[in-house]
Symmetry: C2
Subunit: 236 residues, 2 copies
Amino acid sequence: MLHIIGLGLNEKGISIEGKETLKKCKKVYLENYTVEFPYKLEKLEKIINKKIISLDRTQVESEKLVIEAKEKNICLLVYGCPLFATTHISLIEDCKKNKVKYKIIYASSVFDAIAESGLQLYKFGKIASMPTWEKNFTPDSFLDFVKENKSINAHSLILIDIGLSFKDALNQLIKGSKNKKFKLNNVLVCSQLGFKSKFYYNSINKLKKKKIKTPFCFVIPGKLHFLEEEVLEKFT
Amino acid sequence: MLHIIGLGLNEKGISIEGKETLKKCKKVYLENYTVEFPYKLEKLEKIINKKIISLDRTQVESEKLVIEAKEKNICLLVYGCPLFATTHISLIEDCKKNKVKYKIIYASSVFDAIAESGLQLYKFGKIASMPTWEKNFTPDSFLDFVKENKSINAHSLILIDIGLSFKDALNQLIKGSKNKKFKLNNVLVCSQLGFKSKFYYNSINKLKKKKIKTPFCFVIPGKLHFLEEEVLEKFT
C-alpha cells in the first residue's frame, strides 16, 4: 500500500494519523524537489523516528513507488499538503491503474497559513508559480493569472521556484510587471509560513531593502476589505 | 497564552505540535458552530486525552477567551484549518490589542482535500458559501462568485451551511441558478473530505438520486484540463 503523507509546514506538522501510519511503513520516501525545507531533515527523522530516503522528480514520476507498494507498505512524505503538486495526483492514478491500494493523509499547506496575514482565504483567486528565469527563457505568464484574479477583485498567491533568492524573485516580479504593463502597488511577502511566519507589506522599493528568509511567497492583493487593510498595515 | 489549533479533517488530523501543545493547556475549547463534525467528539476527547468545552459563536466572538488567555494557557480547537473563518482572525487582532501571546497551529482544510478529486488546486477561484434559505430570505450571491470564477476559467468551491441537507442544498443550487440565469452543467459533490472522502460528478438530475452524507460541498468546475476530466469521469 502507498501512503502519501503531508508533512505540514514545520517539523511537527505531520498529523497523528500520519505518524501512526509511518510506524507500519517498511520504507519512508520524501519528495524533495518542489520545496526548500525550512528545517533540517535530520530533525524530522528524529521526530518520526524513521530513516528518510530523498527522491528527485524522475524517481517520484517513475512507476517505481507504485510497483514497490504492491508488495509492502511504503510512504511518500510531501512538504505541506500532499496533493498540491500535479505529480502526486498522477501517483494516485497509477495506483488505480495497477490496483495498488493508496491513502492520502492530509496536512496544512502554505495556502492555509497565509490566513495569518489577515487576508481572507475566501478571496484568493488562481494560484500562480514563478519559475527561475534563464538567460533566454524568462516566462512571465504568472502575471496573467494575477491580472485575471484582479479582474474579479481576488487576491493572488505567487509561489516561488525552489532555489530562487528573494532578490532575484523580486527582480523577476518587477521586470515581468513591466513587460505585462501591470502596475505593482504594495506587495505582501510571506516568509517561512507556519514555521516562523513573517509578513512584509510594502512598496517594491521598500521591499528591496529587506532581508527575507526562504522559503517565501508573494501575494498581490486584490480589492481589500477594510479589516484586511487594517491587519496588513501592521506589516509595513 | 491563546493557542488556536487546527484539527484537520478527521479525529487524528491534529498535528504532533498541536497534540503536544494541548498537554500544557488548562482549558480546551472547541469552536462548534461553523461545521458539522464527521466523527463523535468523544472520540476526539479520547485521542487528545482532554475534556473539550464546546463554544458557540457569541462565546468565541466575545473577549472572554482573550482575557482568560492573559492568565493561563488555553486553546481553541477549530475543525480543519484554524484560520479559515474571519472570526478567528479577529481573535488574533484582539490578542495583539490586549498584548496576549498567541500561536496558530495549522492543520489541513477542506480545500487541501479537494485535490483528491483530481481538480488542480491552482485553478480554484474565490470560495463561495451557501447559507440556509429561509421563507423570505433566499440569498443567491454565492453564484456571483461562481460566475466571476467562470469568467477566468477557475473552479468554484461552494461551502455549505451547517445543518443544510444535501437535498435542500441541491434545490437551493438549482433555484439560485435559475434566478441568476446560470447554466448548471455537471457538478462535483465532495462528501466527508479527508474523513471518508467520496466524490460524485454528474448532472443535477442524476445527483438528485444520490444519498450523500454530511458534511459535503459542491464544486462547479471551470475550464477542465484533459487530465482533470479523466479523473472526474471516474466519479460519474
